[in-house]
Amino acid sequence: MPSVPAAPRPAASEHAASAKVLGVGFSYITTLPADLYRPGLLDFVEITPEMLCRARRDGEALSMDLVPDKLKRARAICGELPIVVHGVELSIGSAVHWNTSYLDMLDRFQAIWPFHWHSEHLTYQTIPGDDQRPLSIGVPLPLPGTAEVVHLVGARAAAIRRRYRVPFLLENPAHFLTRLAYEPGIDDEVGLMAAIIEQGHCGQLLDLHNLYCNAVNHGFDAFAAVDRIRLDEVMEIHVAGGRWEDGYWMDTHDGRVPAPVWELLEYTLPRCPNIGGIVFELLNYYATKMTVDAIAGELMRAGEIWRRNGRRSAAMQE
């Protein structure tokens, strides 16, 4: 671990252990049939609130407005299923200008529709432009493994955890920058995530497909990486599909979960004592390219692994 002074830490995974165990979840996707979101097939829904928003610029400031009709429809479709939030536009790793308008929007969202936990990607997607205003770079990029990053993201994660009073998780990203630098003591992406979690007292959303992508593209053993992850801090696991393009395995989230990722799930799940749920993640854009039966098949397979490992869903606990 890097030589970063951390605030006194809660007892091992105190915040993780306090999270509710939900079961198997699925991304909220506007273009899919509403009857996919029903108890029995799903235990919870993962909402990306940006999908329910419109960005608006007021002079210098950007704000994100929840669109009442979209929110109303989402609530009607998800019914009584519990929800968790999975954001994509916070840019928690931007050296300056992380997206505070996202947090302002999330304040309003939480007041309307409380969630059990929320998560973001350990990435950045803005830099200062020539006018010093935030400039989108178009795709999320991974962070270098430095003490500065650990301090910056750790402090922001801690502030977020205090602000929403529900667990906050960081997701390990897929990326293609094999030569990204890591300071000694942090060493690699596993070390970086562990150091930030230590600093920020947050949990981890372990995206097994992203881990698999990086293992394939950067040439490391995904199972060995799992062994080094703070699994007591993992509260949610993502599984998803991807595909080959130009010699890289991409995190396209556009189809069925590949066999190696299922194997990773079988290996990892029993080792996560504080897991709250598994989500089959699918991108809105690709959702209609998968049949409802195929989606249901992936959810049932995740559910079968969940139950085989002695996990109970939220519905079973009630």
Binding site: E50, C53, R54, A55, R56, R57, L62, M64, D65, V67, P68, V88, E89, S94, A95, V96, Y124, Q125, T126, I127, P128, L135, S136, I137, G138, V139, L141, L143, P144, T146, E148, V149, L152, H175, F176, L177, T178, R179, L180, A181, N217, D246, G247, Y248, M250, Y285
Partner: protein, 280 residues
């Protein structure tokens, strides 16, 4: 361009900000060699070893692949933001417009709608004024503006119009879109992928406003005439001569198609021919 060509200082360790500025700029660059985009960048506090490290990273196969992905995402988001307008154009026109927009830095925002207005304006500037494509482009832009404004729209107090000093302008979330054919015929042809109707000399105006239940409806000739007067700020007494005009203005004001000129936009004009000048 060699790594050392970028201005650098040796007294500081690599900062996250510098790292991100270099990678972010290189990611957005349209040049074949993204490092070129850093020429003239001032105040980067990276030493030569750090610059060499980033130079290697930027020229790695993984970064090249990331750039291709970024380009693809930007193109996809832009196309999504102007779906209907682009569907009116040839494949080559579509490709060229999206390409030019992304070359100019467009498509990078994660929410396509946040750039949609600007992209549609970019497209409109490259379309023939009297064309169905222009109509659809302005309509798509009007829908974005009206639906955005509708999120915060509250019907205004009509008594504000009674003040003789009231200045009016077009509502920011409103638009009057001219069609060159009966709108239903045009949409039917678009939907059926049939030949589009010929351009008519007759004007068919559709009004978009945040206070309308469906955000749009056919405009009356009176409304179109008043709207034309609101392109520049105008004093209420000048625009409302006649009882019918007053009613029309009240209707436009109620739905957000007409608005009061913000007080801060009024500036003194020394010209003797007018008492005030208003910036739109």
């Amino acid at each position: 361009m060699a790594a050392g060509a970028l201005q650098c200082r040796n007294e500081r360790a690599m900062s996250l900000l510098d790292h991100q500025i270099v990678l972010g700029r290189c990611l957005r660059a349209v040049d074949a060699d993204p490092w070129v985009s850093l020429a003239g960048l001032q105040g980067i506090g990276l030493d030569r070893a750090e610059l060499a490290e980033l130079h290697d990273l930027v020229h790695s196969p993984g970064f090249r692949f990331t750039r291709r992905g970024q380009r693809s995402w930007c193109e996809g988001r832009s196309a999504e933001a102007a779906q209907l307008t682009l569907s009116m154009l040839s494949t080559e026109q579509r490709r060229q417009l999206v390409n030019d927009w992304v070359d100019a830095g467009g498509g990078a925002a994660f929410d396509p709608t946040s750039e949609a207005d600007a992209f549609l304006e970019f497209v409109a500037c490259r379309l023939s004024e009297a064309s169905h494509a222009m109509t659809i482009c302005r309509m798509e832009q009007a829908i974005y503006r009206a639906s955005q404004a509708a999120l915060r729209f509250k019907p205004p107090d009509l008594s504000l119009l009674d003040n003789p000093n009231t200045m009016l302008c077009a509502g920011t979330g409103a638009a009057m879109v001219r069609f060159f054919a009966e709108p239903q015929w045009l949409f039917a042809a678009i939907g059926a992928k049939a030949p589009l109707p010929p351009l008519s000399d007759r004007c068919f105006f559709v009004l978009f406003a945040p206070g309308l239940p469906a955000l749009f409806r056919a405009a009356t000739h009176e409304e179109a005439a008043v709207w034309a007067m609101l392109v520049d700020p105008i004093a209420m007494p000048l625009v409302s001569r006649g009882r019918d005009k007053r009613r029309t203005i009240e209707e436009l004001f109620t739905i957000g198609a007409a608005d009061l000129v913000p007080e801060g936009n009024v500036v003194s004009d020394p010209s003797p021919s007018s008492t005030h000048h208003y910036s739109a």
